[in-house]
């Protein structure tokens, strides 16, 4: 039986991909950011060892233009080529999918009343590849298979925090009903506080970010109910990416334990956050609509 054994949260800052690709991890500007991943790089190879990662990220006007904007899309293809975002494709290996599990999850989510978009062709951008580089460093091929789960956080409204959390719970139900023995991680990427536009650009909110990190640990479900406007006011216009972390959190069940935590300001325009969590009580509600929402008053 497939099992979710860990959740990882990680910003997906483009310049860290660049620093990695140019062998500048030791550069004084980047070293403090990368240092916080040393623990994880060892742990993931020695202990974490996922067979498959459900990698929650957002596309940054790379695979999708304004002609089509899916709220939740799941990549069911065999492989996912690396996108050219305007500076040439990153020199990293092609991402290999896990179509058996991806289709199983996609089908289960739709029966569970999530309105998924299925993707059989997808080029992936830094949102997906930077976290892989942070966790695995330089490799000839990625030592893990990846199921991309793309969330719209660019065109408003993105999905609510509660909906994201519910989707995580549904992913956990789907993984638990997959017959093959697989060690599965769920990663939530993006954030933390950053604003890339307008006179308020450069906003960083260390206090709010750390409150957010605190509440991903343990059994509180407070973060379900943080409205979009709070992310915008407190963490800058691009801080909204943090709703994607709630999909990861929802997939870990009622209670989590923190194995590793890292926070660093700044990387380029952005506050970097990173957590490694394991489920303590992996119980998730049996359906998204009834029990899930009884646990979530206010919606």
């Amino acid at each position: 039986m497939a099992q979710i054994t860990a959740g990882i949260a990680c910003s997906h800052i483009p310049v860290l991909g660049f620093a990695h690709d140019q062998d500048k991890e030791g550069d004084p500007l980047f070293k403090p950011a990368f240092d916080g991943f040393r623990w994880t790089r060892e742990w993931i190879r020695a202990e974490g060892r996922p067979d498959v990662v459900v990698l929650v990220y957002n596309d940054h006007a790379s695979a999708f233009d304004m002609d089509i904007v899916p709220t939740f899309a799941i990549g069911c293809a065999e492989t996912f080529p690396i996108c050219d975002e305007g500076y040439g494709p990153r020199p990293v290996p092609e991402v290999v999918g896990h179509p058996d599990l991806a289709w199983h999850i996609a089908q289960s989510l739709i029966l569970d009343e999530f309105d998924m978009t299925i993707l059989n062709r997808l080029e992936v951008d830094h949102g997906l590849t930077v976290p892989l580089s942070m966790m695995y460093g330089r490799v000839d091929e990625w030592p893990v298979r990846v199921i991309p789960l793309a969330v719209n956080v660019v065109t408003y409204p993105p999905p609510s925090g509660n909906r994201c959390w519910m989707l995580g719970e549904a992913i956990a139900r789907a993984v638990a009903s997959f017959g093959e023995d697989l060690n599965v991680h769920v990663w939530g990427t993006g954030g933390m506080s950053h604003q890339l536009q307008g006179p308020r650009a450069g906003l960083i909110n260390r206090e709010w970010d750390n409150m957010f990190l605190d509440r991903l640990i343990g059994d509180t479900q407070d973060l379900r109910h943080v409205p979009h406007i709070e992310y915008l006011r407190e963490t800058g216009s691009e801080g909204i990416e943090m709703v994607m972390w709630l999909i990861m959190r929802g997939a870990l069940g009622r209670k989590t334990r923190c194995l590793h935590r890292h926070y660093h300001v700044p990387v380029s325009n952005t506050a970097l956050g990173h957590l490694v969590l394991t489920p303590v009580d992996g119980t998730v509600p049996p359906s998204p609509t009834l029990e899930g929402n009884r646990a979530a008053p206010g919606h």
């Binding site: 310049v15 906003l203 006011r233």
Partner: protein, 133 residues
């Protein structure tokens, strides 16, 4: 259930920030699709060779074309541009995010970078126009 009108109205109360709402997405549709076209190397070259001629192929407003030509990113945001789409324009220019983003803040790149290294811009006073907090 969230009221969509209240939900959207709050976005106008954030200082120095344009949220990419439906209204902006509609106004900026062709601008953003133009920017997206620069993901292809051959289009980047055609754009560089004659920016005005390249822009003329898109049903954008004259305001939008002008703002692209002078790389006025704040103006482009006002005209419906989204930063991830506009990134294709400054990537074509060989600029990084920090370089391009700083132009929107009224600071030099050095000043902006120093602010970031000092911990970034504080949210104090920048959360709400009305409440000034």
């Amino acid at each position: 259930m969230i009221d969509i009108h209240e939900y959207l109205a709050e976005f106008d109360d954030i200082p120095g920030t344009r949220v990419y709402t439906a209204q902006r997405a509609r106004a900026g549709y062709h601008l953003n699709q133009f920017a997206m076209s620069l993901m292809k190397a051959e289009n980047r070259e055609r754009f560089r060779a004659d920016e005005r001629a390249y822009l003329e192929q898109w049903p954008m407003t004259e305001d939008q074309k002008q703002a692209v030509l002078v790389r006025d990113y704040n103006r482009l945001l006002d005209l419906g541009g989204n930063i991830y789409f506009l990134a294709k324009v400054f990537a074509s220019d060989g600029l990084s995010f920090v370089q391009a983003v700083s132009t929107m803040t009224g600071m030099t790149v050095d000043e902006y970078q120093k602010m970031m290294l000092d911990g970034g811009r504080s949210p104090e006073g920048l959360r709400s126009t009305k409440e000034g907090n």
